[in-house]
């Protein structure tokens, strides 16, 4: 997997993952730990629900006037000495980065974790053009060195345990070889490896958490300090932002600086946040480029129900409360956007015709935990159901639709249902293995793809009742 496009339908990808007991155990530990911590961090603020309402309204207000906001942002960034680029799709965005890198003749650049750059598959394109992009976030570095892909928005290497990372760093990091599996020692090795890169690399690429139209201020939220290094030390900085990240006024940022850290890392505040407006003489990069990325976002914006997805501030709270994510992990979603938010964002960005992405709205039990956890109140279950409807409409009359119709017919009258049950009881014989049905034939196979079925009891309740009445007569 790389970028947005899932290479398999979700049920198929999920089946591979749920059969890995170690992965499931890791995921369970992670999601439960973050979930509990988050409840404490959120519980500390008695006005949390009001903050969520304000966050929701602030984002909606900005999206309602998005073109004005982007024009305002463009003008303020330019007024402060920055350059602004518009990219309709991933390919355009990648070309802009390549062009800037080539203009400065760099063959290496440093990156601060950016899902947007993963979305556009930037690293692979840079590599093809002879430019090596070094990931500087510890987890992203682990993922990069092991030629793997991220599996969580916040902790991308969470599917790897310390022994794997120990072996990886001892093999891949220059000058290392005798590292123990202590997380502190492993982080120390990453620090040694990257420090020289930070101090000497000429160009950096970042994502953007928020941008303020009125002041041209761009913001990156992080923990390790690798973000500050990338944003401050190189001569040239390129930041890629989805167009939905823009806010109107400076003060609008406040509510998100309250909502994001508590929802995401379950901290009162993340260790470091950097804000900059264009270029500051004598401080930081003296050349700044801001890329405004569409890549399907305007299609999502045009959809009255789906539009709320663009409020997302990438906190990952929905992943950690989702029973489906907890069992499959992020890779099953096949996209840089995993979990409940990915299940609605990915198919919308790609369009509902995408045969793999359009299986993602099915990746949910509709329990509603993701909506409760979302700091900007994206009604994920509502969008999931809506998108399932879109998929069905897209498919037209299918075998599934026919089967549902038949079931509806059988269940609409008592005697028909009873007759069907009797037939099924005889029919199930060859399918039963060890008291359970693990695989149904033909059309019905979909049902048993991700669950086992209890066998039908020898007698139905209605039959038992009739017999009882007869006996008592």
């Amino acid at each position: 997997m790389s970028g947005l496009h899932p290479s398999k339908p979700f049920p198929e990808a999920a089946r591979d993952k749920v059969n890995q007991p170690q992965l499931r155990a890791n995921l369970r530990k992670v999601t439960h730990t973050i979930r509990e911590k988050r409840l404490r961090a959120v519980g500390e603020l008695p006005h949390w629900e009001e903050l969520r309402l304000l966050g929701e309204a602030t984002k909606d207000a900005s999206l309602a006037n998005l073109s004005d906001r982007l024009l305002q942002l463009e003008a303020s960034v330019k007024a402060r000495g920055g350059q602004v680029h518009w990219a309709r799709d991933a390919a355009e965005a990648r070309e802009i980065v390549v062009r800037i890198a080539q203009a400065h003749q760099v063959d290496e650049l440093i990156k601060v974790k950016s899902i947007t750059s993963d979305e556009i598959e930037l690293n692979a394109t840079l590599q093809e053009r002879g430019i090596h992009a070094i990931e500087t976030d510890l987890a992203e570095l682990i993922v990069q060195l092991s030629h793997d892909t991220p599996s969580h928005i916040l902790v991308p290497a969470i599917h790897r345990n310390r022994a794997e990372i120990q072996a990886l760093f001892n093999r891949e990091l220059p000058g290392e070889g005798g590292l123990s599996d202590s997380p502190a020692e492993l982080a120390g090795a990453a620090r040694r490896y990257l420090r020289h890169k930070f101090l000497t690399t000429k160009m950096a690429v970042s994502g953007v958490n928020f941008a303020v139209a009125e002041t041209g201020t761009v913001c990156v939220v992080e923990s390790e300090g690798n973000g500050r290094m990338c944003l401050t030390l190189p001569e040239v900085l390129v930041s890629i932002m989805g167009i939905e990240k823009v806010l109107e006024r400076w003060e609008d940022l406040s509510v998100f600086m309250e909502l994001l850290p508590r929802s995401s890392t379950a901290e009162r505040m993340n260790p470091y946040t950097s804000f900059w407006s264009g270029v500051t003489p004598g401080d930081g990069p003296q050349e700044f480029h801001l890329i405004l990325l569409d890549n399907g976002r305007t299609e999502v914006l045009a959809d009255a129900t789906g539009r709320q997805t663009l409020r997302c501030i990438r906190c990952s709270a929905c992943l950690n409360v989702c029973p489906v994510y907890e069992r499959t992990g992020g890779h099953a979603y096949g996209s840089v956007y995993p979990g409940p938010i990915g299940a609605i964002l990915t198919p919308q960005l790609l369009g509902m015709q995408d045969k793999n992405a359009n299986t993602l709205p099915g990746a949910s039990s509709l329990c509603g935990a993701c909506f409760d956890a979302c700091p900007v109140r994206i009604n994920i279950p509502q969008v999931l159901i809506y998108l399932r409807g879109e998929v069905t409409a897209e498919k037209g009359v299918t075998a599934e639709a026919l089967a549902m119709k038949t079931v509806g017919y059988a269940m609409s009258s008592g005697w028909r249902f009873e007759g069907a049950l009797k037939l099924a009881r005889v029919g199930q014989g060859p399918l039963v293995k060890g008291g359970e049905i693990t695989s149904l034939p033909g059309l019905l196979g979909g049902w048993t793809q991700s669950r086992d079925l209890k066998t039908l009891p020898p007698q139905s309740f209605r039959e038992w009742w009739k017999e009882r009445e007869r006996d008592s007569e």
Binding site: T33, R80, A157, S254, S274, W276
Partner: protein, 213 residues
């Protein structure tokens, strides 16, 4: 591919997408219960210590002593041009960023001592607006120890107050750095490790004005 063409097309798509959509009115910003001054400073201390950063609260005459103890033997100390020299103990090798030091020069410092623009008690956050007593952004990034001197009256309660107080700096084009504890990661099995790339240790010194009699 032309930037003007992409720009026009994106703006057209957006305008078509949101035609007729009304922006909602913003609800008022919710505020927690107001703390009185003493409780607020205690809250700030609690939050700072919760990040495993160290905290001292001293009268103005004792700042240099507090800095000396926070330095814990470190000698090569980076200072911004606008820092009050009275805050520094004697016997240090001071690295001044004037003319600006190279990256390698900054990397040679063991510690940095700065002021700040404003601090937030609810979240234990220090906001730098990179005024002359704080220096440019790289100064508080490269050395392993950051000692931040904060006047007690610079501590406010809420994130919103903090954001409002630095608005003028932002409007003037200044960058900001928000710091809440030392550099940290939880990327390996969710085990928190302090100090990855930024300063591993943060020490906050809150200065009380001595009241006039």
């Amino acid at each position: 591919m032309s930037n003007a063409e992409a720009r026009l097309e994106m703006l057209t798509r957006i305008n078509r997408a949101v035609a007729g959509v009304q922006a909602p009115a913003l609800p008022t910003y919710p505020q927690g219960e107001r703390l009185e001054r003493g409780a607020l400073l205690h809250q700030f201390q609690d939050r700072i210590e919760d990040y495993r950063a160290s905290f001292m609260r001293v009268p103005v005459a004792d700042v240099a002593g507090a800095v000396a103890s926070a330095l814990a033997g470190a000698k090569r100390v980076l200072i911004p041009t606008g820092l009050n020299p009275d805050f520094l103990p004697a016997g240090l090798e001071l690295l001044r960023d004037d003319p600006p030091l190279s990256h390698a020069g900054l990397d040679g410092a063991e510690a940095v001592v700065t002021g700040c623009a404003v601090a937030i008690s609810e979240t234990g956050t220090i906001i730098l607006d990179h005024a002359p007593d704080q220096g440019r952004r790289a100064l508080t990034l490269i050395p392993d120890l950051h000692i931040c001197i904060i006047r007690a009256e610079q501590v406010v309660q809420s994130v919103l107050e903090g954001v409002q107080l630095v608005e003028a700096s932002v409007q003037a084009g200044q960058p900001l750095t928000w710091i809440s504890g030392g550099s940290a990661t939880s990327d390996i099995e969710l085990v928190r490790v302090e100090g990855v790339h930024g300063p591993r240790r943060l020490c906050v010194v809150v200065v009380e004005q001595i009241p006039a009699h």
